[in-house]
């Protein structure tokens, strides 16, 4: 609850909405005990007094009634009406939606046709007709407004219910012999309720606006009773001559509806689990750079990552995802980066071209040099020209990394056209050639497929083809085979290996599978908790792992090429990177750890090309 409130009030707009609404509610609650004029007492001689007249803070209306008093009483009534109408509409609409969504089939069909009918009926006319049929009065206006909103709730809630009804827990409940009513009440409703509540809260404002609209058409509360809508309606004839009489209720309606909306948005965001992780922010075009400290000097590597530090800033917490990583590749070389999930290997890879989602990502130190040029903090356009052209990426899950709404040919062509001015016909033929290069059969037909029409392996080939489109110097492959089954994985790996040898590509290959590293990479770097704990030529590391963590990782791969293995063999979990232990990050899970392991930072030591970050290495290097 307190996190919820904290999140809510971190959103300053929502906080403002809460404060305004709170103030209005408070005023309205104490209205009966405030020293106000009677809202219904007329004094026609004192009509249309301007605001701040003595005795009438907001002036008087066309019958000389005190506007402040009418405003507060009217707000009270309007809020009550808005809430009641929203409640009624939500209850009935949700009930209809849940029933339709849960039972499905013919019930659903009939109910939804009915809802369609009501929605096709112009809603103001429906409300007008309902009021005309029921007779005058605020209660009937309330019923009309609620009734015309029922279909919207029904439709929304049905959609959500249909999604839920397919879930296992509903089937389980059914198998357990629960009756329909019980399933709906105990299984479905609790899951739908938050949506209903949020939809309802935002509807309250809408309801107040709509009752105001009905008053505009002359249907609403019975005089002399004041509600905001009828105040606005009554003031309409004096709008030109005495605008304050309409502005007073108008501003109040505005304040209420606005604060309800702001608060509603805030509540929705605060309830959204993704906001807590900071993921509801849109990522910028390049990662934010707030570099402190010295920038390392250039080297002669093709691509050099130097003492890179990348952090995630979420609220007041700082996650050190990458804590000073240095890596380098030369042309034609393949470097493997290996580690568990959360070890910072993907973040390292994405930092290279500034692709870490930001917010929350921030690059706080180090450099990334491509042919000696520092890319960290480079202008967007410089970075963009290199992205996909000189340094290309292959990502993990090709279903989510390919755009679902573009044909793959378009996506390939776009990769080329972003860097080269060529016609669409030529781009298409090059796309076909690329598809052939990655050994996609029937490329001429496949080029017009959408991603969802292809198999996983085919999609990953498309991903590779896209990376190759501009014949880059470096390819960064971020777990490109993880989502694939073993045989496809082997094909993809051999494809990459061939390409590297044919084209002299440098590859940074990120994986958590030593089997894959052994098959493809010249060198390997092992990452743990955002740092490199061991590096060296693949064979040397595999044959004689020096870091206890590396050893355990390798132990997880009984046979080369044996496919994916879970790293469950290592007890415990990697540390959370916002709370790293002072010494070796692996110490809590390491059975060889001594007190001095935990005391102070351990440095990466060794002779080129091998190094290890351990006080008690398994092998001396």
């Amino acid at each position: 609850m307190s996190t919820f409130l904290k999140l809510l009030f971190r959103n300053r707009l929502a906080a403002m909405g809460a404060v305004v609404l709170g103030a209005i509610l408070l005023l309205v609650l104490v209205t009966p005990i405030l020293p106000l004029h009677d809202p219904d007492i007329t004094a026609t001689a004192d009509r249309f007094k301007r605001p701040f007249t003595e005795g009438h803070l907001l002036g008087t209306d066309h019958l000389g009634r005190d506007l402040l008093s009418r405003l507060l009483h009217g707000t009270r009534l309007s809020l009550a009406i808005g809430v009641a109408a929203a409640l009624i509409a939500a209850t009935i609409g949700s009930a209809i939606g849940i029933v339709a969504g849960y039972f499905g089939g013919r019930t659903d069909n009939i109910i939804m046709r009915g809802v369609d009918m009501l929605m096709a009926f112009p809603y103001i006319l429906l409300a007008l007709a309902i009021v005309a049929a029921l007779g005058p009065g605020l209660m009937n206006a309330l019923i009309a407004v609620a009734a015309v909103n029922v279909p919207f709730f029904a439709r929304n809630i049905r959609g959500i219910t249909v999604g839920l009804a397919g879930h296992e827990f509903i089937d389980a409940a059914r198998l357990a012999g629960m009756g329909h009513t019980r399933i709906i009440l105990t299984e479905l409703l609790p899951n739908v309720l938050p949506v209903i509540v949020i939809a309802m809260s935002t509807t309250v404002g809408w309801m107040i606006l709509e009752t105001a609209g009905l008053s505009f058409l002359g249907l609403g509360s019975q005089p002399p009773q004041a509600d905001l809508g009828s105040m606005l309606g009554e003031a309409r004839s004096a709008m030109i001559s005495h605008p304050h009489t309409s502005i007073v209720p108008g501003v109040m309606i505005f304040l209420i509806v606005m604060s309800i909306n702001l608060l509603g948005d805030g509540v929705r965001d605060a309830l959204d689990p993704r906001l807590r992780s900071g993921a509801l922010s849109r990522p910028r075009a390049t990662t934010l750079v707030e570099r402190q400290g010295d920038i390392p000097a250039a080297t002669d590597d093709l691509l050099a990552i130097q003492e890179l530090e990348t952090q995630f800033h979420v609220g007041n917490r700082i996650y050190r995802a990458v804590g000073g990583v240095s890596l380098a590749v030369k042309s034609g070389e393949c470097l493997g980066v290996i580690g568990e999930s959360g070890s910072g290997k993907s973040v390292t890879a994405l930092s290279v071209m500034g692709l870490v989602a930001s917010p929350p990502g921030v690059i706080t130190g180090g450099a990334v040099r491509f042919q000696g040029e520092d890319l960290i903090g480079a202008p967007y356009e410089t970075l963009r020209r290199k992205r996909g052209d000189r340094v290309a990426y292959i990502f993990q899950d090709p279903l989510s990394t390919l755009h679902p709404l573009y044909r793959i040919g378009q996506q390939l062509a776009e990769a080329i056209q972003s860097h080269h001015k060529i016609g669409s016909a030529e781009a298409r033929s090059r796309a076909i050639r690329l598809l052939k290069d990655v050994r996609i059969p029937n490329a001429e037909a496949r080029v017009d497929n959408f991603p969802h029409e292809m198999s996983g392996g085919m999609r990953q080939r498309v991903g590779i083809a896209m990376a190759l489109a501009n014949e880059p110097d470096v390819i960064i492959a971020d777990e490109p085979t993880t989502a694939l089954d073993v045989t496809v994985q082997a094909q993809i790996l051999s494809l990459l290996d061939d390409l590297r040898r044919d084209r002299g590509l440098a590859i940074i290959f990120i994986t958590h599978d030593f089997g894959v590293v052994a098959q493809l990479c010249d060198r390997v770097a092992v990452m743990y908790a955002g740092r490199i704990v061991e590096e060296g030529p693949t064979k040397a590391v595999l044959d004689a792992p020096a870091h206890p963590y590396t050893k355990r990782l390798i132990a997880c791969v009984p046979e080369l090429g044996g496919g994916r293995r879970e790293l469950a063999a290592i007890p415990g979990l990697p540390p959370v990177v916002d709370d790293l232990p002072p010494g070796c990050a692996f110490a809590p899970r390491c059975d060889k750890a001594q007190d001095n392991c935990r005391a102070a930072e351990v440095v990466l030591l060794g002779n080129e090309p091998r190094a290890v970050r351990c006080l008690y290495p398994e092998e001396a290097i």
Binding site: P122, Y123, L217, T401, H403
Partner: protein, 320 residues
């Protein structure tokens, strides 16, 4: 092949619209029969004595039983005869067509305005999340959705027409001279903006959250990794994907714009169908109300089918 499938899909949707429309004819007929007060009273006004009312009802053919009247009406309508409006003394269909086209111009313009402005505002707002533009847009959008449209309309008249005299107060064409396109646009600016305000706000808010959702997707990172210029990432990749969730809302908002036109048509004296229907209900002009509602509802249903078709054209994953 896809084209043929689409054709079948449209046909299927059209057929399923028939019972909906039939239901609407029944609802509107019932409602109009249940409303107290009858056309004769409405016509005769203060002179509605029982015998005058009875005679007039006989002249109007309202003395027959309800069920019989419904089927006569439905049958006539199927042959294209919507009957005669007694409050306007002319064929219902003429009046509806004339006024619906006025509404179409107004609501259509407002709909285009709110779609374009709303989506654009949402996109900018999302692309500059928490930036100044985002805050400014959020604020303007909130004003749009928090002010009753008729209030906004009247304020606009006061400012732009009465005080500044930039724009005409009301109507669709200048009464004298005019009648051309610039004249129409001139009369259209205020009502279209006032009508679009609320929907723009709703769409902008939705577009913003849809864009934020999409911008976090992996394929946006892919596009950036390819070196696609940011403008294209936002306006192409992200927007296209976001449209999948925006389009259904556009469909719903179209209904609101069409309905909300009632207020705007009254304030700006736009000769549209919404105002006509309100007046017809008040005058108990049964045939005009019934015909008008059926016509509007049919258009709304068609529009929704078009929205669904657009949706399935945009998103190849939807099965048609």
């Amino acid at each position: 092949m896809r084209g043929a499938m689409m054709g079948g899909y449209i046909l299927k949707r059209l057929i399923s619209a028939v019972p909906v429309l039939l239901g609407i004819t029944i609802i509107v007929f019932l409602i109009m029969s249940l409303i107290p007060g009858d056309p004769a009273t409405a016509i005769l006004g203060s002179y509605a004595t029982p015998e005058n009312v009875e005679k007039l009802n006989r002249d109007l053919g309202l003395d027959k039983p309800m069920v019989q009247r419904y089927f006569i009406w439905l049958g006539n309508m199927l042959t294209g005869d919507f009957g005669r409006s007694f409050s306007l003394n002319r064929p219902v269909l003429d009046e509806i067509v004339e006024r619906f086209s006025a509404t179409l111009i107004l609501a259509g313009t407002a709909f285009v305005l709110c779609s374009v402005l709303g989506v654009l505002a949402g996109v900018v707002s999302a692309a500059r999340q928490y930036g100044l533009a985002d805050k400014a847009i959020t604020f303007i959008v909130l004003i749009g959705i928090s002010v009753p449209s008729f209030f906004l309309g009247m304020m606009m008249i006061l400012l732009f027409a009465v005080n500044l005299r930039w724009l005409p107060v009301s109507g669709m064409y200048a009464i004298y001279g005019g009648g051309d396109l610039p004249d129409l646009l001139n009369h259209l600016i205020m009502p279209a903006l006032a009508l679009a305000a609320v929907a723009t706000g709703v769409i902008a808010r939705l577009a913003r959250s849809a864009m934020l959702e999409v911008l976090r997707q992996d394929y946006i990172r892919t596009a950036r990794a390819k070196g696609v210029p940011e403008r294209r990432v936002i306006m192409g990749h992200a927007l296209r994907a976001a449209m999948v969730s925006i389009i259904p809302v556009l469909g719903i908002q179209a209904g609101f714009v069409l309905s909300g036109a009632v207020y705007i048509e009254i304030v700006f004296q736009w000769p549209g169908v919404g105002r006509m229907l309100v007046e017809a209900i008040l005058k108990r002009d049964l045939l005009l109300v019934q015909g008008g509602v059926v016509f509007v509802a049919a258009c709304y249903v068609m529009f929704n089918i078009a929205v669904d078709v657009a949706q399935s054209l945009l998103d190849p994953r939807i099965k048609t």
